[in-house]
């Protein structure tokens, strides 16, 4: 028996300004158009099997609007699950819809690209891992299927296939370059190699415990994911987190941003043949990770953010030591920025390389630091600040140039801004408890979390089931939005600049593959 589905948007409890509305197909399309015309963005698209409660599937879309996050839930019949295509209005929907078809078997009516995305052949066409009747443990032949890449034809055009295993210590994915001479005419990405079945796996956890899985969607963003998960869980459980825990979470999130920027600035220098950058920045990153390990018990701060607060309170002395380290790192990073700025060879490789113009960034829905380097002033810490960000007056670091140089510039500026924030957080850190007890989740309760990680916005949605279990959950990585932009950024550049362009975005394979 279907539960009544009101179409009036309902405000969700918790830290994120979010609403949930149950819609029909006409309202689904109308909502997309209204959001699009008002300049909103598609944040995530996912689906769930509603059986046995209802004989239907849910198709969810989460939009960023001026008011916050608007989630719409379209119920489609389980026997013929189809929903209106969104990729015509929101470019990032394309791959998400393909993934949704692979996992749930729900078709986007009118979508142009019907090729599989996450399904490489490990499970059969006609099998859908997110359906209740799918047996994840059943033995499968798992024969990988060939993928129909788009071919570029013409005089002197040839292809370079790269991956899934790349030359360095990098995540796996396949890049198909069509080139003339050294110039790239077209790049086509094929991802999904690190698909671990996260959405399905969430169902094996309780709402209280799922943060550990969320924190392993993309290891470099473990704090952002764990915080987004915690927000979603706290929304489901209607608990309020103590102030000190919020400030500690922000300390960790900025710490994660700093660690990643330090690592990537070194790698960017190295990819332009400036080995000193890697040696120096990787040393600073190591200093930072060692401090994080000492203070939070884990170098990457995994499992440190938990639903209800934080796993531990490192204490005043430890928290204070973070500010001293921030001073030391800032001093050295400023020296290194001067060295970067005055190094003509480095600037020659950075400037004009891998350009994503602001119009393209807006049209294709770029997010996070890459968007800010292409003139898009988006930052959840400023636009929808969760405590303590409202009190910290975060500065958005924006550049309009959209090239590798702009992304390097934004990285440096965000590094310095986050170092400032670390000091401000240490100064403003309130005393008190860091964790509250969790009640058992009410079956059917729904919540979302939405956090500006170092790469961009991470979204987690949870629906509780019986006995405190997770009925359905979804984790969304900002790399979904940004991967397609690399296909544009490389056009007209030379092949040897690809590693540099790729690193300047440094997107997550694991996060987007799910």
């Amino acid at each position: 028996m279907a539960t009544p589905r009101p179409s009036v948007p309902k405000r969700l409890a918790g830290e994120v300004p979010a609403t949930l509305a149950h819609v029909d197909a006409a309202e689904w399309t109308e909502a997309a158009r209204v959001v699009h015309d008002a300049g909103g963005r598609l944040v995530a698209l996912w689906g769930a099997d509603r059986r046995p409660q209802e004989d239907a599937f849910s198709i969810f879309a989460a939009y960023a609007t001026a008011e916050g996050l608007a989630v719409v839930d379209l119920a489609v019949p389980a026997a013929s699950p189809a929903y209106p295509d969104l990729s015509g209005l929101f470019a990032p929907a394309g791959r998400m819809q393909r993934a949704l078809r692979d996992l749930l078997g729900a078709e986007a009516d009118g979508a142009e690209d019907a090729r599989p995305w996450l399904r490489h052949g490990a499970w059969d066409e006609g099998e859908f891992p997110l359906r209740r009747d799918f047996d994840p443990a059943a033995p499968r032949a798992g024969r990988l299927e060939p993928y129909p890449f788009v071919r570029v034809e013409g005089d002197g055009v040839h292809e370079i296939p790269v991956g899934p295993i790349h030359a360095g210590i990098i995540e796996p994915g396949h890049f198909r370059f069509s080139i003339v001479g050294e110039k790239v005419l077209r790049l086509e990405e094929r991802l999904g190699y690190t698909h671990k079945g996260v959405d399905r796996r969430f169902g094996d956890f309780s709402v209280a415990e799922g943060y550990r899985l969320a924190g392993r969607c993309s290891g470099d963003s473990t704090v952002a994911y764990a915080w987004a998960y915690a927000q979603a869980a706290e929304s489901v459980l209607a608990v309020v987190v103590p102030p000190r825990a919020r400030w500690l979470r922000a300390l960790m999130l900025e710490g994660e941003r700093i660690a990643n920027h330090l690592g990537d600035l070194g790698a960017l220098g190295n990819d332009a043949a400036f080995a000193l950058a890697l040696a120096q920045f990787s040393r600073l990153r190591e200093d930072w990770l060692r401090a994080a390990g000492e203070i939070f018990g884990h170098r990457l701060m995994m499992d440190a953010v938990v639903p209800g607060g934080t796993a531990c309170d490192p204490g005043e002395r430890h928290v204070r030591s973070m500010a001293a380290l921030a001073d030391a790192v800032e001093r050295e990073a400023r020296e290194l920025r001067d060295i970067f700025d005055e190094h003509s060879g480095l600037q020659d490789r950075f400037i004009g390389t891998g350009r994503v113009r602001p119009e393209l960034a807006r049209a294709l829905g770029l997010v996070g630091l890459a968007a800010r380097a292409s003139g898009q002033a988006l930052d959840l810490r400023v636009d929808f600040p969760a405590e303590p960000y409202g009190a910290l007056a975060v500065r958005k670091c924006v550049s309009g140039a959209g090239d590798v140089a702009a992304r390097v510039r934004v990285r440096f500026e965000e590094l310095f801004e986050s170092l400032r924030l670390v000091r401000a957080i240490v100064d403003g850190m309130p005393p008190g408890e860091v964790r509250v007890d969790l009640p058992e989740a009410a079956p059917g309760a729904f919540g979302v979390g939405w956090v500006e990680g170092w790469r961009g916005e991470v979204l987690v949605a949870i629906e509780a089931g019986e006995g405190g279990r997770i009925r359905r959950a979804h984790a969304h990585d900002p790399s979904w939005q940004n991967w397609p932009l690399i296909e544009h950024a490389i056009m007209g550049n030379i092949v040897p600049d690809f590693p540099l362009i790729n690193k300047s975005f440094n997107l997550s394979y694991s996060g987007a593959d799910g």
């Binding site: 490990a122 399905r200 290891g219 473990t222 990787s282 040393r283 394979y509 694991s510």
Partner: protein, 172 residues
């Protein structure tokens, strides 16, 4: 140029002494024959393969190359091609979508070849376990010599594990 030289001089050498190998992480004690170790000596080339990790292990493998641990200073370096490698360093629960690529990389290596599984995922699938998308650890796909625990293992543990796989008799 002068600021660069000054920066190098002021930083100095920060490399720390290498840890002893962690013999107890060996999973195939008999698999690593003395002759193999003699053949490899102390120069080792590693091909790293991410078989579906969350990228946390990659971050810490990168860290063993930083100046504090200075892996290359021990005669150990990472190569782009498995054809040049003595050791396959594998992370992740081995996703079904990476299983074939991992096997191909292993087959491309010259004998003798060592396999080190990094992290809890590499060990037994970790939090992802074994399922429709994951094989449940490197040993489900390849013969593993050493398995390094941790999520992710810190750089020192990775170093100890690599050294356990190549520890030559009596060598420090």
């Amino acid at each position: 140029m002068i600021p660069i030289m000054l920066k190098i001089l002021r930083t100095g050498i920060v490399t720390e002494p290498a840890p002893p190998p962690r013999e107890e992480w060996r999973t195939r004690a008999a698999g690593i024959q003395d002759e193999v170790l003699a053949l490899l000596g102390r120069a080792l080339v590693i091909r790293e393969v991410d078989a579906g990790s969350c990228n946390g292990c990659e971050l810490e493998i990168h860290a063993v190359n930083n100046p504090y641990y200075n892996l290359e200073g021990l005669g150990i370096r990472f190569a782009a091609s498995p054809r040049h490698a003595d050791m396959l360093l594998v992370t992740g629960p081995v996703t079904r979508n990476m299983e074939q690529a991992l096997r191909i990389a292993y087959e491309a290596m010259p004998e003798p070849r060592l396999v080190v599984a990094v992290g809890d995922c590499g060990r037994d699938g970790g939090i992802f376990g074994e399922g429709y998308a994951t094989c449940g650890g490197v040993a489900k796909v390849l013969p593993v010599d050493v398995s390094i625990p941790g999520c992710p293992p810190p750089p020192l543990a990775i170093l100890e594990g690599i050294l356990a796989a190549v520890a030559a008799r009596g060598d420090p």
